[in-house]
């Protein structure tokens, strides 16, 4: 059916490779950063201008952003674990190198995002404490396990793919530092999604065991990836969702969850066909009238259960972070003590 058996680098595989990204990235260069605007917050928002750290902003806006950016940063950091789990076992040196680089990128994303959050008057150590204490969340997708090598493919293809779909609109977020972080992050996520697709592509053209491994991983990650867009914006399942309307008005959120989810499904179905993977949804079919794919119901009961802490890896992910942090405490203390000694030595020698 698909004559050419190669991955065409010119065909967009994710939202960061579409015009939507280019437009969002072009849009962000607004006014000069660094000085407070003479215009008020509402006027800036109405004019679709960026809010910068020194601008006046409502407390609620600040809080909402801190929560969202911190949660996003935590997701990058916790998100290192599922794939980090495979670095020592990667089946080839090329795959090992790509995986190390990817996990490193996620750490970098976490750091940009913590810095963006810090422009709002919180600090990283405090945010990490909130993560470790369970007071702030991270994306629930990372509470699922990585059972086989193919999971690294499925995560790149679907999880990074869904993350990009969510993040491209954030490149136009009203808060400047967050928007700029997203522009940089989306570019790297795009590589992540491609390498995931390529892992699955190779597996699907490999041995029977490899094809089965790829299909199994797609079966397990497809539904959790769809849930990454959050609960529906309307109807029964929307209850408990929350901040959509206000975030829309403030230019933090640009699209409804359901719209992004639909875009994602529309983009992924042809890719699954190309891979030769059957997506685990008997209701998935093209709807000529809507011009979109119809798809089955997401199990929101499972979504809320995992979000509340009762998923396969919630306890493990947090425990891993906590113990790495606790074991490193003496190192961070030493670095602080050394820096203080150096500062006082400099003072003495200057005196």
């Amino acid at each position: 059916m698909y004559g050419n058996d190669v991955i065409d680098p010119n065909v967009p595989l994710n939202a960061a490779e579409t015009a939507a990204y280019d437009e969002a990235a072009a849009h962000v260069e607004g006014r000069a950063v660094g000085e407070a605007s003479a215009e008020g917050f509402d006027a800036l928002i109405a004019a679709d201008q960026r809010i910068e750290p020194r601008d006046a902003m409502p407390d609620k806006y600040r809080e909402t952003l801190i929560r969202q950016i911190a949660q996003h940063a935590h997701s990058e950091i916790i998100g290192m674990q599922p794939e980090g789990n495979w670095i020592t076992r990667a089946p080839s040196l090329r795959r090992k190198a790509i995986l190390i680089a990817k996990v490193q990128d996620e750490a970098g994303h976490g750091l940009y995002l913590y810095s963006a959050a810090e422009t709002l008057g919180v600090d990283r150590a405090e945010l990490l404490d909130r993560l470790h204490d369970g007071k702030q969340k991270y994306s629930s997708i990372f509470n699922y396990p990585t059972l086989t090598w193919a999971d690294n493919g499925a995560i790149g293809w679907l999880v990074d793919g869904a993350a990009i779909m969510n993040q491209v609109p954030l490149c136009r977020c009203s808060y400047g530092p967050y928007a700029r972080a997203m522009i940089r992050v989306c570019k790297e996520e795009s590589f992540h999604q491609r390498q995931g697709f390529e892992i699955l592509w190779t597996l699907m053209r490999g041995t029977e065991a490899q094809r089965a491994m790829a299909q199994d991983a797609a079966n397990r990650w497809w539904w959790p990836a769809l849930a990454m867009f959050g609960p529906p914006d309307t109807g029964e399942a929307a209850k408990g969702g929350g901040h959509t309307e206000q975030s829309m008005a403030w230019g933090i959120k640009r699209f409804a969850n359901d719209d992004l989810r639909q875009k994602f499904v529309d983009m992924m179905v042809p890719q699954a066909d190309k891979l030769g993977i059957v997506l685990p949804d008997p209701d998935l079919r093209w709807n000529e009238e809507r011009g979109h794919y119809d798809f089955g119901d997401i199990d929101w009961g499972e979504f809320w259960r995992v979000l509340r802490g009762d998923g396969p890896c919630n306890a493990e992910r947090i425990e891993h972070r906590r113990s790495a942090h606790a074991e490193g405490a003496w190192v961070r203390e030493a670095a602080t003590a050394y820096a203080a000694k150096q500062a006082s030595r400099r003072q003495e020698s200057a005196a």
Binding site: L93, A107, L111, T202, T207, E327, V331, E333, A334
Partner: protein
């Protein structure tokens, strides 16, 4: 401490260490060209240490360090990947990087014991990285003058990387040594623990003697004093004491005689590749 006293047990004589390993000379990975065997030692050191360092990702004391240790692992992995196919071309087997990394048994690996040791605490890693990167700085400086253009090229690129690794390790050893009471104690203990595994780096085995004779390689013993000098400058600044000698030293890595952790490292690293013979990834 006089500067000509080696802090590593310098029983460098190759005959002595080989003799204590019955059969190693005949049955080990040699039988290959000495030049290939020599380069395999360098590649395996880099490969195995990359594997160990990559274990730190998600386990480091701070996120910057997850990234930095990942970066160093990537550099070392790149050094191994540059050497393996070249070794395959000169040893006549035509093997590629994954044949070397994924399909060799423990007895065919030529790395020193230092790099295969299990990950200890952060001070242990910084002690190992300090020594290994100081060794690699001297090694690659010398190898940039190799008569083999490929080796000289790999060394030239690696030299830039390992200088950064040495800076990174030095920075941390100084911070830990001159940080808190606890970090000083831990860093000093780590320097003691790493000691028995250093002498191997400077052993002149048959392969390295031949490779050095051909101008391809460098005699490991010739790097010793400069490496110790580099490390001592750092430990001095860190208010640490470079330990004098240990009661035992590791032997045999270059002849394929490894310590207990090596088999487990290989089991983990090779498991998926070996479970699917002939598959591509």
């Amino acid at each position: 401490m006089s500067s000509d006293v080696s802090p590593v047990n310098s029983t460098n004589a190759p005959a002595e260490s080989e003799e204590s390993l019955p059969g190693a000379a005949e049955n080990g990975p040699s039988g290959e060209l000495p030049e290939a065997a020599y380069l395999l030692g360098l590649a395996d050191d880099a490969m195995v240490y990359a594997q160990r360092l990559s274990e730190w990702m998600t386990n480091a004391p701070q996120i910057e360090e997850d990234m930095a240790l990942g970066n160093i692992a990537l550099d070392l992995l790149g050094q191994a990947r540059a050497l393996y196919p070249y070794i395959g071309s000169i040893d006549g087997t035509g093997r590629g990087e994954d044949d070397y990394a994924m399909l060799r048994d423990e007895r065919d690996w030529r790395n020193v014991h230092l790099v295969e040791q299990e990950r200890g605490d952060f001070a242990d890693e910084m002690a190992r990285l300090l020594w290994f990167s100081a060794y690699q700085v001297e090694l690659h400086t010398a190898l940039t003058g190799s008569s083999d253009d490929v080796v000289a090229g790999v060394a030239g690129k690696a030299l830039k990387e390992v200088r950064y690794h040495l800076d990174h390790a030095s920075l941390w050893v100084v911070r830990l040594g001159d940080g808190t009471e606890e970090s000083h104690r831990r860093m000093q203990a780590a320097l003691e623990r790493v000691l028995p595994h250093l002498a191997e780096l400077f052993d002149d085995d048959e392969a390295s003697v031949t490779a050095a004779g051909l101008g391809v390689g460098v005699l490991p013993s010739s790097l010793h004093d400069a490496v110790v000098g580099r490390v001592r400058r750092v430990t001095d600044e860190a208010t640490l004491t470079l330990p004098e000698a240990s009661s035992w030293r590791s032997r045999g890595g270059r002849a394929g005689i490894h310590s207990r952790p090596m088999g487990y490292l290989l089991a983990e690293m090779q498991h998926i590749a070996r479970s699917h013979p002939g598959a591509t990834w």
